[in-house]
Symmetry: C2
Subunit: 328 residues, 2 copies
């Protein structure tokens, strides 16, 4: 990756790519840099068009060693559905491009498609196209279109100082499940499901969106996602470590493996819960109708994301999962 | 690929995938099986939304051995733009997902993006999002959105018996250029450009579309594309071999390499000219305003695609480039 361009991270590369791609189309309200692109409606007062893309690679994002093709398909669909949820939108049409090696049977491919189709059906999404080609490794590249009314549109960039920072459910489950599988251990069914067939929060996103100021889905870890909201809103955040919600199997798995479950939440990724900021009085209103919401911190004016430990110490959080800086 | 599913070709696999994905969304007018999906407008009388996806893999669809990153980017954009041209549409917003190996420099990646951006700018298309991740081989997965008014929408499935079969320009150039490069020979500049930086026919598609009955772009060879139109329209076609247009460098390259330039046109692919069917009287009208159109045959009621040789013999044409059956 490194050369004389001075670019050292995925965030920097994407920022530079956005400069190269910079266009002047006033219909594109938000392009590169949110969970989905937002395109203005052709008819005044109509719904915005949302577009999100995710590319999944074998042995980077999924492994045939422990995931069945139906599970891989469901998860591939879910991570795109989650991006539309993060915008407050309704998911509509999915486009699936696949690269398939010669050692993948047609039966395996059709099971993968069945997994994608199943997840789509449960959210009334239609798979309307894509591409297939032969490659050395499996690639699943999905683009999902959605729509959102002006009142529900929720960007990353609108967090306000004084907002509460809220998550829609417990974190760290996917990372815990993956850590167990990588260690050759059988994960608890809860952890296996969290890693292999995560859901998305389209079930509640539409109720959160009209009240929230900023929203993002947690695909790369809490630290990284909070950082995105803060950078794009020109604010900072405090996250209270003791307030981050965990299910018991996550804490138990961390103990068993000698890992830190807090790190799984902060940097583990793929929980696909939503993270949003909301004024305190609106949070009270929302929490009375949506179950499972947990306030984990607040938006402050001082830039950066800081973790507040139970003893009051504060440490700066950098990053989360960087697709380029970590791993091979 | 082969197993007990009885599926032996890309066409069969895509047909089966379409069954797995079958949805009931009446907004999807045409899904899997045309150059782009067609989605009905939310406002009556508005434009249809077009969506096309193409995935390009290193050493399958392009090679760093002979293509510069700017060229690879331009071609990746062009093959998607060509799909929107084939629907009679206007290209609007592009989404670019990239997998990048560690041995690809950031400079190379930015040049690739510059190539994509350049091709987009010349067709007033904005790159509005995508995804990046690290992989073993370069993957370029592009989804392009476009729009088309009801009068211009041109499907593969509307060819009528008695229509003329017309191409928008000479064929075989891309295959000739590739054959030269693969043989280690320097291709003529015309052939190099045809293979490395093909254009698309958005320049004339909008004038053809209101008059044509069916249209497709030539990405997998004339035989295969004519087959798609015939199968989806429930008709057959005769292609007159002597009428297929070739530029001189293509014929010369075939002579030099001991290849058949006719085969390059029929099965070579990536010419990105348009192939359309049109009633004879409308063709006369169109040919007086659009230069370079060549009538190469006609639509008949008898199913199948037949090549009519200069001596009057007829041979059945099967296929074109099948991404699964060939190579590897």
């Amino acid at each position: 990756m490194k050369d004389d361009t001075g670019i050292n991270s995925e965030v920097e590369l994407i920022a530079r790519m956005a400069t190269v791609f910079a266009g002047s189309d006033s219909n594109v309200m938000t392009g590169i840099g949110d969970d989905a692109a937002v395109i203005r409606p052709p008819n005044p007062g109509g719904d915005y068009l949302l577009v999100t893309s995710d590319m999944l690679l074998e042995e980077v994002h999924f492994s045939r060693r422990w995931a069945e093709p139906v599970q891989i398909g469901r998860k591939a669909a879910a991570c795109n559905l989650s991006d539309i949820a993060a915008m407050g939108g309704k998911a509509r049409w999915m486009f699936v491009s696949l690269a398939l090696p010669a050692n993948v049977s047609t039966r395996w491919t059709l099971s993968l498609c069945e997994g994608i189709a199943r997840e789509c059906r449960s959210h009334k999404v239609t798979v309307a196209g894509g591409d297939t080609c032969k490659g050395d490794k499996i690639v699943i590249s999905i683009t999902l279109l959605g729509s959102v009314g002006p009142r529900n549109l929720c960007l990353r960039s609108q967090a306000q100082v004084g907002d509460l920072l809220v998550v829609t459910g417990p974190l760290g489950g996917s990372a815990a499940g993956l850590a167990m599988l990588r260690s050759g251990l059988e994960p608890d069914p809860y952890l296996a499901a969290k890693h292999l067939t995560p859901g998305c929060r389209l079930d509640i996103a539409g109720r959160i969106a009209p009240l929230a100021n900023a929203m993002i889905d947690i695909s790369d870890g809490l630290a990284s996602e909070t950082g995105h909201i803060c950078r794009q809103s020109g604010v900072g955040a405090l996250i209270r470590a003791a307030a981050i919600p965990f299910e018991k199997p996550v804490v138990e798995a961390a103990g068993m493996l000698g890992c830190d479950h807090l790190q799984w939440a902060l940097a583990g990724g793929e929980d696909f819960e939503l993270l949003f900021t909301i004024p305190p009085q609106k949070f009270s209103l929302l929490a009375s109708t949506v179950a499972g919401l947990v306030c984990i911190g607040e938006i402050v004016s001082e830039p950066g994301v800081r973790l507040v430990h139970p003893d009051g110490r504060r440490t700066a959080l950098e990053g989360g999962y960087d697709h380029f800086a970590t791993g091979e």
